[in-house]
Amino acid sequence: MSFLRLCKSDKVRKFVALNENKFKGKNMKEITAYLHFKGEAREAMTFYKDCLGGELLFITVGETAMAAQMPAEIQGYIMHSVLKKDNLTIYGSDMVRPGGINIGNHMSLFINCSSEEEINSVYTNLVKDGKPGQPLTEAFWGSIYGDLNDKFGINWMFNYDKEEVINNNHK
């Protein structure tokens, strides 16, 4: 949330007002996945919005208070972006640590879906131009499960718990 203060503009205020209910009561410990891209954060986050829905906000380097200290060629890069839909939050950025980016496979985004239709649709959307891993199948733990590597190199895992008991376990 505080990242939204990177840039004081009407677009940020409108985003906060629009998502006010989703931020309300969020003054509590929370973890969120933060993704780094090699200059393709805008394209990737737009793709995720198309796949998952929700509201998306971009803050470019040029829009922040740090703009004057940054080289001209990176002004258009994404300093911070947030995709927000109900309980789902993903952060994305083009900012990379010194030494460059290394797209790893040791972390994934785990999506707990709330219906069979939802898991089918998010899997089908995200696998476009990416590499399917485990196709959606009935897993021995009583869920529908599948995974994939999307076209930006991000790993996703999908789970839909058919049994309410297991669902409660994950809450």
Binding site: N105, F110, V122
Partner: protein, 155 residues
């Protein structure tokens, strides 16, 4: 609607890593399943039976930190740097405490400090290679302030 959570893989020490995260965030594991708990006909050849197949540590009502042990039958593990976990805390003290614990034995990318965007913020890698961003700002105060500014600007 769907929830999204970070899922972490480690080489045979997931249990140790998650015990470390439990000591940082508190709480209890909601799931701890080993490869030996997998039905025999579903077992992957080459998996170490004592390894963690799935572990889950709830952080709050909505977010869960999850993980499992990597096995070589899954291919080669490549710990990348394109993924971090952002933690929003309840207070500045909690942010500092979590940061100190996570960076102990790891390395500090940016020490906890007030940033130009108003947050108390820092970045570190823990001793197991996971990247963290620790962030405290009073969301409710901010949301109210932003709303008032928005109302003012639309007058």
């Amino acid at each position: 609607m769907a929830k999204v959570n970070p899922y972490l893989n480690f080489y045979g020490n997931t249990e140790e890593v998650f015990n470390f995260y439990k000591s940082v965030f508190g709480g209890e594991f909601s799931t701890l399943m080993r490869f030996k708990d997998v039905p025999t006909e579903m077992q992957s050849p080459g998996a170490n039976l004592e390894d963690i197949m799935h572990i889950a540590l709830p952080i709050n009502r909505e977010t869960v930190l999850m993980g499992s042990d990597w096995s070589d039958f899954m291919g080669k593990m490549n710990p990348g740097n394109n993924f971090a976990i952002s933690v929003q805390t309840d207070s500045e003290e909690e942010a500092q405490r979590i940061f100190n614990k996570l960076s102990d034995g790891g390395n500090v990318g940016m020490p906890m400090a007030k940033t130009f965007w108003g947050a108390y913020f820092g970045m570190c890698h823990d001793k197991y290679g996971t990247s963290w961003m620790i962030d405290y700002s009073d969301a409710r105060v901010e949301a109210d302030a932003e709303k008032k500014e928005l109302e003012k600007s639309s007058l």
